[in-house]
């Protein structure tokens, strides 16, 4: 009981602190963003000041986000004892680790596998979720809230708890050791997520555009594909990207449901990198592999990022 009280006390304190931090950090900053967005206007002293603040914050965010990655690149170029010594700039440019990783015949195939599994998972999840979220967001029927909660409940069990059940399912379907085993099992966490996010965004779209389409005699399918989809691009791309990364990084199912080296995915392939002996951890190759597998994801973001900022501004829809 005392335990509970102290616990509540501390958490309330934390909460107060967070509210404070939020007010202190976010709002002045928001002000800065709005002011700096005003750059077309006259260059007032305060405008310049906020502009500087803005760029400092951008630099900080980028620095924090990529420093560990930078450090991984650094480490990937080092070997042996060098790895145990902290440094900030490259001490050597030794591609040995990259060679070691890329010459493993199964590593490249694991990237191909991951791309395939993650892509199919995301496409399937988005397809199923778009139609379902249309129904959940735009059509009135009883028990919608309960249905949404049930869908969410699927994601509430720890992954390890559903492992043995899924293993049986996969065996029963005869898809053990195929990419389909992974695609099937990944829907357990991608589908609830995509359905919920898309439902939320779909619900917020203005009613007028749908009404106009319906008046023109459009079927629900046409409403979804011709009217909503173009407006939903930011949400689609964002959820797709997040779900893609989720599938790309999944480890436990991938390890359990595949057995052939050529069927394995990237996280398992990385875990398979090993030192010469049991206790040694091959830092250099692991870092090199991480760098290699992060690059396709960065490319993906760069390709799709335009779509993230498309959406309503492009549609020119009146609110």
């Amino acid at each position: 009981m005392i335990d509970l009280l102290t616990f509540l006390f501390w958490n309330l304190l934390y909460f107060a602190a967070f509210v404070g931090i939020t007010l202190a950090v976010v709002f002045p900053f928001y002000y800065a963003v709005l002011s700096s967005a005003d750059r077309s206007g006259e260059r007032t002293a305060s405008g310049v000041f906020w502009n500087i603040v803005f760029w400092i914050v951008v630099a900080l965010i980028v620095l924090i986000a990529i420093f560990p990655f930078y450090y991984a690149v650094l480490s990937s170029l080092e070997t042996g004892t060098q790895l145990f010594i902290p440094n900030y700039l490259p001490q050597s440019l030794n591609p040995a680790n990259y060679e070691a990783v890329l010459t493993r015949p199964s590593f490249v195939s694991s990237i191909v596998n991951s791309v395939f599994v993650a892509t199919v998972t995301v496409v399937a999840a988005l397809f199923l979720a778009v139609t379902a979220s249309y129904a959940l967001a735009r059509v009135r029927f009883r028990g919608r809230g309960l249905l949404l909660l049930t869908i969410l409940a699927v994601s509430m069990f720890p992954q390890i708890a559903v492992l043995s059940g899924l293993f049986e399912l996969v065996n029963w379907l005869g898809i053990y050791n195929t990419p389909w085993a992974l695609i099937l099992s990944y829907t357990i966490f991608t589908l609830p997520f995509t359905v919920w996010v898309l439902t939320t965004f779909m619900r917020d779209l203005p009613v007028e555009i749908e009404e106009a389409a319906i008046v023109d005699g459009a079927s629900p399918w046409v409403v979804i594909s011709k009217v909503f989809l173009p407006l939903l691009w930011p949400a689609l791309v964002t959820t797709g990207l997040l779900a893609f990364i989720g599938a790309w990084n999944e480890f436990l199912f991938a390890l359990t449901f595949t057995i052939t080296e050529t069927r394995r995915t990237v996280p398992v392939a990385i875990a398979l990198l090993s030192g010469a002996s049991q206790q040694e951890i091959p830092w250099g190759p692991i870092m090199a592999a991480s760098v290699i597998v992060t690059v396709p994801l960065i490319a993906l973001v760069l390709i799709f990022q335009r779509k993230i900022v498309a959406g309503l501004t492009a549609g020119g829809v009146k609110g």
């Binding site: 980028v62 480490s75 069990f157 720890p158 629900p220 930011p234």
Partner: protein, 327 residues
């Protein structure tokens, strides 16, 4: 003065019943594939997991049967020791379990709060128009993109007391006099875990919030600006209310993930008392000890706790689940 764009079509008066039922039928067919898929994948594993929690199943007999029904013994039971004293057993009588529950809740609370604040901040930056925005957006996503098993190890390395770069930095700057064993000490282990989790998952938050920001029509701001409304006021009266649905759903999924946190802690501070979580205990019980009865009981309790939190959150946050309450 809230400008409403989130009205529902059915709110409009004078809808004909035929149209209504046609839409309902369409809705059914739109929902069906998703529900069938989800049921197909999830029903058996979830059902099984709950069933196991009432049996004495061991890893060796989960596929062949042979386990016995033990009622609620995995949750709570007792035995009499040789000296006549009573010893309580089962998950609910396990001090480690309660320690894990508090750890998990503390972790979830703090990480989600920090990630929301920082995610909002990052999203606001990315929503502004500036040169190189695409690159910044890609850079932001890197922490989320690196597989957890790798980033946790990487951070473990960076936080190491002897050859870690974080200690090196803090020492150089002069914040500390001697290196800190971040992941080893009970009082810093949780901070280390929080730090890494915030670093890793803020992009997730930021991206979802950004999508929410992008869905707010630009002309809202324009008209507010023309009216000369103070930006702070715009933030509270326009941005935040319109952002709320996206924010809420992002927070729900973060809470869900945070309460189930496993891999990061499993790699970074394995089995440290200060950071052990419910999922870790459950993993240990199922995968290492092979005790499917107790492990499933833990998973089921975790499920119930998460469900409780989500319901509480939806209720307190007035999340509009059914869309009936639209303004």
């Amino acid at each position: 003065m809230t400008t409403t764009i989130s009205a529902n079509p059915e709110r409009s008066r004078g809808r004909e019943t035929s149209l209504q039922s046609q839409r309902a039928r369409a809705a059914f067919w739109f929902l069906a594939p998703m529900l069938v898929m989800l049921f197909f994948v999830a029903a058996w594993p979830l059902f099984r997991s709950i069933m196991f929690s009432f049996t004495d199943a061991e890893a060796n007999d989960i596929f062949t049967g042979g386990s016995e029904w033990v009622g609620f013994d995995n949750y709570l039971s007792w035995r009499v020791r040789d000296d006549g004293s009573i010893r309580w057993r089962g998950v609910l009588a396990d001090a480690d379990w309660w320690n894990a529950v508090w750890n998990t809740i503390r972790f979830a609370f703090m990480s989600v709060a920090l990630e929301t604040v920082l995610g909002l901040l990052v999203a606001l930056v990315l929503n502004a128009e500036f040169k190189g925005r695409g690159l910044v957006r890609a850079a932001i996503l890197i922490p989320w993109a690196i597989p957890t098993i790798v980033s946790a190890r990487m951070w473990g390395w960076m936080l190491n007391d002897q050859f870690g770069i974080i200690n090196d930095m803090l020492l150089t700057v002069g914040f500390i006099d001697s290196p800190i064993a971040w992941t080893a000490r009970a009082d810093t282990a949780m901070i280390a875990v929080l730090m890494v989790d915030v670093w890793k998952t803020t992009p997730f938050m930021a991206l979802l919030i950004l999508a929410g920001l992008q869905m707010i029509p630009r002309d809202m701001y324009e008209s507010a600006k023309i009216d000369g409304i103070h930006p702070m006021k715009v933030f509270f009266r326009v941005t935040l209310p319109l952002l709320k649905p996206a924010l809420m759903v992002a927070v729900i999924f973060r809470v869900l993930d945070a309460l189930r946190i496993f891999d990061l802690i499993y790699v970074l501070t394995p089995q440290s008392e200060a950071t052990v979580t419910m999922s870790i205990l459950s993993y240990r019980e199922l995968q290492q000890f092979g005790d499917y009865g107790e492990g499933s009981a833990q998973s089921t309790l975790l499920f119930l706790i998460i469900a409780l939190f989500v319901l509480l959150y939806i209720w307190l946050g007035r999340v509009d689940l059914s869309g009936e309450r639209s303004k």
